[in-house]
């Protein structure tokens, strides 16, 4: 990490990211799973798997279906709960020298608040990403993320309990993402990350049954990039918060596209499964892009579309 490209540094509220490249929750484990493949410190940040109040077993198998240029998942927030996170996992990740963000999920405002409060105590966690957009659990998330009033309420409650950087992760499965974004901005969110997965399903025509145990699931991968870019572009035009662009980012060009439409940082998700070193490669690719186009600082191209 001697060769840090200073042009790439970005800030999200109190969090300084050495570059805009983060990894998306649910696709990067707890970070250390990728140590074999890359230098974790080359990243701007890592968002770990969703953490809920109690242990959750998630949905039944099968939880995955491949689709055209994408995949559906129905993991359903499987995790060992916030206490296990604080007591065990935290120790395994707290010395990773990048911004370690916890993705906070829940089924009730109380649960969100409980998790946020507990994470607030962890010194080396500079921020949380509030997941109000998971399509994969009945009482979990997407209901909060698709209704502006509920979105505002949960953010308001968590904001009171949490005083570090609060990122709220938005769902694309809404009529107006701008409306949700504004509601959340109004309650003190520091940043918005978007998008979570699109609500979809897949069918096995031969067996005549759904491919997911839950029938429906969340679509991710390059298939969703056009929707994600549109969401970021719309929200960038109508809110003032720093945005984190997510959805189908497979390479540095994709990352640049999100920055051009207004993202301050980006998260790489499904691409990590296909090339486990891709997030680090994207960092280098962005540097190259700036070189090639003679750009002094990444902020010079942010939101110029």
């Amino acid at each position: 990490m001697n060769n840090i490209d200073k042009r790439l540094e970005v800030t999200i509220k109190d969090m300084v990211l050495r570059n805009p490249v983060m990894t998306a929750s649910g696709t990067f484990g707890y970070g250390y799973d990728y140590e074999d493949f890359m230098n974790l410190e080359s990243l701007g940040g890592i968002v770990v798997k969703a953490t809920t109040g109690a242990n959750r077993e998630g949905n039944a198998y099968p939880r995955m279906a491949e689709t055209s240029s994408g995949m559906l998942n129905a993991v359903g927030l499987q995790n060992k709960g916030v206490d296990y996170f604080c007591n065990t996992l935290y120790n395994k990740i707290k010395d990773i020298n990048t911004n370690m963000i916890v993705n906070v999920s829940g089924s009730s405002i109380e649960e969100y608040v409980e998790v946020a409060e507990k994470i607030n105590e962890l010194k080396n966690i500079p921020g949380i990403e509030l997941n109000i957009s998971c399509p994969n659990v009945k009482q979990g998330g997407m209901a909060f993320g698709t209704d502006p009033k509920m979105a505002a309420e949960v953010v308001k409650a968590v904001r009171r309990a949490y005083n570090k950087t609060l990122i709220v992760k938005l769902s694309p499965n809404v009529t107006s993402i701008v409306e949700i974004a504004k509601a959340v901005e109004g309650e003190g969110a520091d940043s918005l990350s978007l998008i979570n997965t699109l609500f979809g399903m897949a069918v096995d025509a031969e067996k005549r049954q759904p491919l997911l145990s839950t029938v429906t699931g969340g679509l991710s991968g390059p298939a969703v990039k056009p929707v994600a870019l549109r969401c970021v572009w719309q929200v960038a035009k109508q809110t003032k918060l720093p945005l984190i662009g997510i959805g189908g980012i497979m390479n540095a060009t994709d990352a640049i596209e999100f920055i051009l439409v207004g993202a301050t940082a980006i998260e790489v998700g499904t691409a990590n499964f296909i090339n486990p070193a891709i997030s680090q490669e994207i960092v280098y690719g962005i540097s190259e892009y700036l070189d090639r186009h003679n750009i002094k600082n990444i902020s010079d191209i942010r939101g110029i579309i």
Partner: protein, 252 residues
């Protein structure tokens, strides 16, 4: 330590119209690989293949730094893979999964169809460790039998074919070798077969290791898509498995 690296295809051998063996050269020194581990292959050139494909390590030639894979064509990814040419590169994440736990003094290996893939390397490892093994292979007919010579050089080979064209005519479960005494059974194949063998092992009161082929998105533990229900909750097939003690599995 897991790696994500290019291998070079040095052989693509057709066994049947839907079965082929790839021999892949690693340009460096191969890391330690356990029998039962698998690789995740990046399949290029097909618009409809997005994710990697998990394939067991069929054999390892540690001196030549080569691995071989036995692949059955079941869909677009494996079909695309079957067209790969000598000299092409193939990007693999490897070695993945837990691999077989090696136990006992005399063990039985039971394989069905292409599911038997990981057993060849297991037989090799057992021989190195001087553990006696018998291997029972069940398949459709004599044409679907692969790596016969290799098995014979490593283990006592027994065969059951559906049509009787080689060995016993019938299912592996009715083969007389099943009645002999073993310290453990290692079984890879179709789920109904693994369940039957695992039931047999239970009766005999010996451990039975099975290999699960759950659908995987990542293959290295981060996506949580490949879970299997065990007696102590959902476990990731790709890291806790793919080899499980059948008695630990809810469904077995």
């Amino acid at each position: 330590m897991r790696y994500c690296k290019d291998f070079i295809v040095v052989e693509n051998e057709t066994i049947t119209s839907t079965l082929f063996i790839l021999k892949l050269q690693y340009p460096e020194t191969l890391p330690e690989i356990k029998a039962g581990q698998f690789v995740e292959i990046l399949v290029e050139g097909n618009k409809d293949v997005f994710l990697r494909r998990p394939i067991s390590i069929h054999d390892v030639d540690i001196e030549r730094n080569q691995i071989s894979l036995l692949v059955q064509i079941v869909g677009k990814g494996t079909d695309q893979l079957s067209n790969i040419k000598i000299g092409d590169t193939l990007n693999l994440i490897f070695p993945l999964g837990n691999g077989f736990t090696i136990v006992g003094k005399r063990v039985l290996l039971v394989g069905g169809g292409c599911g038997a893939a990981p057993l060849l390397y297991l037989a090799r490892v057992l021989k190195q460790r001087q553990i006696k093994s018998d291997i029972l292979i069940g398949c459709k007919d004599v044409n679907h039998l692969f790596s016969k010579k290799e098995y014979e050089s490593l283990s006592n080979l027994h065969i059951a074919t559906e049509d009787g064209s080689c060995g016993l005519k019938g299912l592996v479960t009715s083969h007389k070798i099943m009645e002999e005494d073993f310290d453990a059974i290692y079984c890879c194949g179709p789920t109904p077969m693994m369940k039957a063998i695992s039931k047999h092992a239970k009766q005999k009161n010996i451990p039975c290791y099975v290999s699960l082929e759950h659908k995987m998105a990542c293959g290295f533990g981060v996506c949580l898509c490949c879970v299997v229900e065990t007696n102590i909750g959902n476990k990731r097939t790709c890291v806790t498995g793919p080899i499980f003690l059948s008695s630990d599995l809810k469904d077995f």
